[in-house]
């Protein structure tokens, strides 16, 4: 390789390395802001690396698994409450609205709302997180992973407003 090419090669490689290091440090510093949601254990115990906890009255997103058997729906309207869990901690979520089709017990959910008590989130939006596993119904049933879309009666929908 002739010296001019060698020089250009060193310049380019060092520029890219420098930019890579800078971006790496910036992302590392911002990592808590890049996280889309808090998990229930992070709300109770703080983030793993920084120990930051949300304060009561703060608007946050919580992501966790819906605890089986915890979903309680009001038969007259759209009000619903359920518990989200991870790593043994639990957060109760209250929500008034239509749940996404993928909502079910054991499913990963992200709720966006205000932390009204230390373990209670009053949600204004509930999003369903689906995992990266895809399979046909028959296989899912043989694994015991059936899915039922949440249904609403006419009366429940009418009482919304």
């Amino acid at each position: 390789m002739n010296p001019r090419r060698k020089k250009r090669l060193t310049i380019i490689v060092s520029i890219i390395t420098a930019i890579g290091v800078i971006t790496g440090l910036v992302l590392y510093a911002l990592s808590q802001n890049i996280d889309l949601f808090y998990t229930p254990s992070e709300i109770i115990n703080g983030k793993d690396d920084s120990g930051i906890k949300p304060i009561i009255g703060q608007r946050i997103r919580v992501g966790g698994l819906v605890v089986p058997g915890s979903v309680k729906r009001d038969p007259d309207n759209l009000k619903v409450q359920f518990d989200l869990t991870n790593k043994g901690e639990m957060i109760r979520v209250k929500y008034d609205g239509i749940l996404p089709d993928l909502f079910r017990e054991g499913q990963g959910i992200i709720a966006n709302g205000i932390l009204t008590e230390s373990r209670l989130l009053t949600a204004s939006e509930v999003l369903a997180k689906h995992d990266e596993n895809y399979m046909p119904k028959e296989i899912a049933e043989s694994l015991g992973e059936g899915h039922k879309i949440p249904e609403y009666s006419e009366e429940q929908l009418n009482n919304k407003y």
Binding site: I12, I16, T39, D131
Partner: protein, 248 residues
């Protein structure tokens, strides 16, 4: 060791080489994509959870994976172009960038259409979606830089530098779902180890994926040829190519 590559630095040789590739890519694209799309729309079983809306996977995932591979390819070419001062590298980057931009846009739009019925939102500023949007802006920046200099070689140089700087974004997109909490699900097919989908869903994915790869090869070869022609318009070999095509 690299001697066999040297003749392709000549625009005329690579122009004709790209011309020979086009029919292969074209017929493979038509074959694979028609088999793949009929297969996934009519015969692949619906997902146990998402039902039929999961079928958009077969367009969303190939285009999203390829939007990253196209960018990486472009970056390698830009790197070689800057170090070895190859004129053909500029032509290739100029040919590839718009295709990459379109693939990124398709990935973003199909992702939004998929997100609405499954997650409940069209768009959310999570790490995966945001970094993919930045990738779209990088492609648009490369396209803009190429055409904003009156001197083509200077524009090519500026665009190559931007391409190399932007390559930092590629690992960020790929690992965003592992490094941070996101709404976007983890990797199904690009991770190490077995893909986490049933085999009767995985095979049609492979057919669609290679269909899109051939589609890329086809479009990029076509664009590469026009770029080479427009950059060498004054050369005698281009004139003879033009005369030959007129006779036909």
């Amino acid at each position: 060791m690299w001697k066999w590559l040297h003749p392709y630095a000549n625009p005329e040789v690579s122009y004709h080489f790209a011309g020979k590739l086009i029919p292969w890519f074209k017929y493979l694209t038509i074959l694979l994509l028609s088999i793949g799309l009929v297969w996934v729309l009519l015969f692949v079983p619906a997902d146990y959870q998402q039902g039929n809306s999961f079928r958009i996977f077969y367009i969303h995932v190939p285009t999203a994976i390829l939007s990253l591979s196209i960018y990486s390819t472009m970056a390698v070419i830009a790197f070689c172009g800057l170090v070895w001062q190859l004129k053909l590298a500029d032509a290739s980057v100029a040919a590839i960038a718009p295709v990459g931009a379109v693939f990124t846009a398709i990935a973003l739009i199909t992702g939004a259409a998929w997100g609405r019925p499954t997650w409940g939102v069209w768009w959310i500023w999570d790490a995966r979606l945001t970094s993919e949007l930045i990738l779209l802006f990088l492609y648009l920046g490369v396209i803009a830089l190429h055409s904003s200099f009156s001197d083509k070689s200077q524009g090519g140089k500026a665009a190559s530098i931007l391409t190399l700087v932007g390559v930092i974004n590629i690992p960020i997109i790929k690992y965003s779902v592992e490094w941070w909490n996101t709404l976007h699900q983890g990797q199904t097919v690009t991770k190490l180890g077995a893909p986490s989908m049933a085999s009767e869903m995985y095979w049609p994915f492979l057919v669609c994926f290679f269909g899109f790869v051939c589609f890329l090869g086809w479009i990029i070869s076509l664009r590469f040829r026009t770029e080479v022609l427009s950059r060498n318009a004054m050369r005698p070999w281009v004139k003879s190519v033009a005369e030959l095509s007129e006779k036909k």
